[in-house]
């Protein structure tokens, strides 16, 4: 647990007035609010920090405690522990005290205060003054799932670990790099019996050494020797779903493209529908020619 300087989080001086705190909070909250910065985890994190700082500094009691212990907050913990022990030795039978009268500060940050905050103010201290209102839906989670291009070619099940829980999902064939899916109810638990948050998974598809993808089409470069390019011939090509024998036409120019219809990438959520595969012939010129070969080329050139 690191010390958090709530004043610097809000960018205000230690002697800032309540009004200064309110203004600083509003200014930063407008900038970093998760609803205004969708898919931006940094903004989400920043908003949590701002929220937490505001929660402490806008509450006179919390601010006093924070100011009192500040960097030595560990001593505050010890102090609180000593106080609790002292209280437990006394025979007061206080049942429902002030600690139960919380209005949970929900939203994005309220439910997720830092360890530092919890150690100083207790686990349930967030939103104690009821300024913010109860939220029912839990926090949304963001996750990334890295796939190889070949993994994205077929519909398959995959298990991923999110927040310590294993979640098994079906990855649909044809998913795009950067595409996002929502798994309802797989986010943080709901508050006060409300629904859980959602889990957003962004697919990150790694480049393949052989195939390049453009939408649903695949592109691949294939080398052919000079003689096949000039005279024509046959080549066996590896596609995503097996080998295909192709005829190379005589006098094929370097960079000629051949389209194999339906041999590309599957179209997302359209069973049986595929893009095309484009093969670019890369004519490889012979090297280390023998004297005889050079002579024959010279004869050809002279014709």
């Amino acid at each position: 647990m690191d010390f958090i300087d709530y004043y610097s989080v809000l960018g205000i001086a230690k002697d800032a007035s309540d009004d200064d705190i309110k203004k600083a909070y509003r200014k930063l909250a407008r900038k970093h609010h998760p609803d205004l910065n969708p898919n931006d985890q940094e903004a989400n994190k920043k908003f949590q920090q701002i929220n937490e700082a505001n929660e402490v500094l806008s509450d006179p009691e919390k601010r006093k405690k924070y100011d009192q212990y500040g960097k030595d907050w560990q001593h505050a913990e010890q102090f609180e522990e000593a106080r609790r022990q002292q209280q437990s030795r006394q025979s007061y039978s206080q049942s429902a005290g002030g600690a139960g009268d919380h209005d949970f500060s929900g939203g994005f940050g309220g439910a997720d205060f830092s360890d530092f905050f919890s150690s100083m103010f207790g686990q349930d201290a967030g939103g104690g003054r009821g300024r913010r209102q109860t939220q029912f839906k839990g926090q949304d989670y963001q996750a990334e799932l890295h796939l190889r291009l070949r993994d994205a070619y077929t519909t398959h099940k995959q298990t991923m670990n999110v927040d310590g829980k294993n979640i098994r999902i079906t990855v649909q064939a044809g998913v795009e790099n950067g595409q996002k899916i929502k798994l309802s109810g797989y986010g943080a638990p709901g508050i006060n019996g409300g629904p859980n948050g959602d889990l957003y998974i962004t697919f990150v598809i790694e480049d393949d050494a052989r195939f390049r993808r453009m939408g649903n089409d695949l592109h691949v470069d294939e080398e052919i020797d000079l003689y096949t390019a000039v005279l024509g011939g046959e080549r066996v090509i590896d596609t995503m779903d097996g080998k295909v024998k192709l005829t190379v036409k005589p006098e094929t120019q370097n960079g000629t493209k051949v389209r194999l219809k339906g041999k590309g990438f599957p179209v997302y959520r359209q069973d049986g529908s595929f893009g095309d595969l484009y093969i670019t012939w890369q004519v490889k010129l012979p090297t280390n020619l023998t004297d005889q070969q050079k002579d024959l080329f010279q004869q050809l050139a002279a014709l």
Binding site: R132, G178, M214
Partner: protein, 97 residues
Amino acid sequence: MQPTTLISIREFCVHHRVETTFVDTLADNGLIQTTIVEQTTYVEPTQLTQLEKFVRLHRDLHIHADDLDIVADLLDRMESLQSQLQTMQNRLRFYER
């Protein structure tokens, strides 16, 4: 008879501690769709995510209900631009290899 698949605006507003006029304004501005059954106004559960987002923006940032349509419009544009950007990045990646 209350349709079980709908959520009454009144119940929603009590839950979230917002005025019903707030939701009415959103509906008037076309930001959410409401349904009136036997003089009671409801929203469909599919609208809840959007509606709760507006509540958060209103509550956290003090954005007036009338101004939320501008925010919603800009957010839609941002989402569309992000989607275009992602497509362009994927195309660029193709040519950069």
